[in-house]
């Protein structure tokens, strides 16, 4: 597509804010694949890549959980590509026996059919007690009644040699709720996403390992009106396969700032270490520019491509005073990335072209 060397690019589509593209079950994957082809190197997060039973791997795409993405954008960690991770499986003690077996069999299937290295398996000493909530903005959030149990299980996995952690927590079933019905029909916010992010943020930040989460839920009754964007979540009994595949090649998180709270295990930067200074662009929904990673990039002067992708928020470039390159869709964003990668000024592609003086 382009002869220019790769332009490392961050793709952020925040979870739990009802983005028209990326607010459902891995429905931003086609956009991520396109942006990876355009940039040659895409760093993005599980909400973009996870389609429950559906997934895609691409060596140009780096799967980085949200809190690690924030730390990468701040320059406190770098990302080191790996051939494989050993993915420990952390199961919530609140999962019923049959649902637990379903998850274990997904892990076995990924070992047998995909060749992933998975294990050990640790169950929390107490149920994690996940609850869901919604912020004043309409964004989904959530709580964890027993965060210490999550961290202790994560520490056991790390001590046993896991280099990445897949977490499965029992989420409350709400099969009769209006919010779930709206989500399944393509017009609502993913009510689970905010709590999922809290779980993976906590674990990744405290352990310094790649982490991602899959909710354990009872199977839903068939809905013939199901929106295609939500279909990935209704193909099986679990949402775990995409998490295991994503983590299996997630980059190592390498602390960069000696003296910071992340300095344990500090290593000098190596040649293959990807750092924020190399990032050439960040792509985010035009109405959701107020997240930590996007702001950190903008404050570093990294070009910000704001894509039309309606959601429940209206935190725009104008509201925040951020300079952006506007894109009407992700295909247009891919064009802008190619321009940046080739050293073509995006302004030269617009008309009218203002005079210099």
């Amino acid at each position: 597509m382009t002869a220019g060397r790769p332009l490392p690019t961050l793709l952020v589509i925040p979870t739990g804010i009802g983005c028209a593209l990326g607010g459902y079950a891995g429905d931003a994957l086609p956009a991520a694949r396109l942006l990876a082809a355009a940039s040659g190197c895409l760093i993005t997060h599980p909400n973009v890549m996870n389609g429950a039973a559906l997934y895609w791997t691409d060596p140009r795409i780096h799967y980085v959980e949200g809190s690690a993405l924030d730390r990468f954008a701040r320059g406190t960690i770098g990302l080191r590509p790996v051939r494989r991770q050993r993915v420990g499986l952390l199961l919530d003690a609140g999962i019923e026996d049959d649902l637990r077996w379903r998850h274990l069999q997904v892990a076995e299937g990924c070992r047998a059919s995909l060749g992933l290295e998975i294990g050990p398996v640790v169950t929390t000493e107490a149920p994690l007690d996940v609850s869901l909530s919604q912020g004043a903005s309409g964004a989904s959030w959530g709580q964890l009644g027993c965060p210490e149990a999550l961290l202790r299980a994560g520490q056991q996995l790390k001590a046993a040699g896991a280099t990445a952690i897949a977490v499965v927590a029992r989420f409350p079933d709400d099969s009769g709720s209006a919010a779930l019905a709206a989500y399944r029909q393509g017009s609502g916010v993913d009510a689970l996403a905010g709590a999922e992010a809290v779980i993976s943020h906590l674990l990744s930040r405290e352990l310094g390992l790649p982490c991602a989460h899959a909710p354990a839920l009872s199977a839903l009754p068939l809905d013939p009106a199901l929106d295609p964007r939500a279909a990935g979540e209704e193909l099986g009994y679990t949402f775990l396969a995409c998490v295991l595949v994503g983590l299996s090649r997630a980059p190592d998180l390498v602390p960069l700032v000696p003296g910071s709270s992340e300095c344990r295990g500090f290593q000098a930067p190596a040649a293959d270490l990807l750092q924020i200074g190399e990032v050439g662009a960040v792509v985010a929904p035009a109405g959701a520019l107020g997240g930590a990673a996007v702001l950190a990039c903008a404050e570093r002067g990294i070009p910000l491509i704001a894509v039309h992708n309606p959601c429940v928020l209206e935190v725009s470039a104008e509201a925040l005073g951020l300079p952006v390159l506007k894109a009407g869709c992700y295909a247009a964003a891919a064009g802008l990335l190619v321009a940046l990668r080739e050293g073509i000024s995006p302004a030269a592609l617009q008309r009218p072209l203002a005079r210099l003086v």
Partner: protein, 60 residues
């Protein structure tokens, strides 16, 4: 350790936003995840003086 949801309104002052937000959240705990979820414009649409609605979860 307790996870605490926080919603706060922050009047913007000149300078980068991230340190302003993190200082405001630090009063409530160690920020785990946050986002600006709404912006109310300042007088005459000025950025300085605009009010940011922040939603967050902190470790308290």
């Amino acid at each position: 350790m307790r996870l605490q949801p926080v919603t706060l309104r922050l009047q913007r002052v000149p300078g980068p936003l991230t340190p302003q937000i993190e200082r405001a959240l630090a009063i409530h705990g160690d920020p785990l995840r946050w986002a600006i979820t709404a912006v109310e414009p300042g007088e005459e649409q000025q950025l300085t003086g605009s009010v940011l609605l922040i939603e967050a979860v902190v470790l308290a």
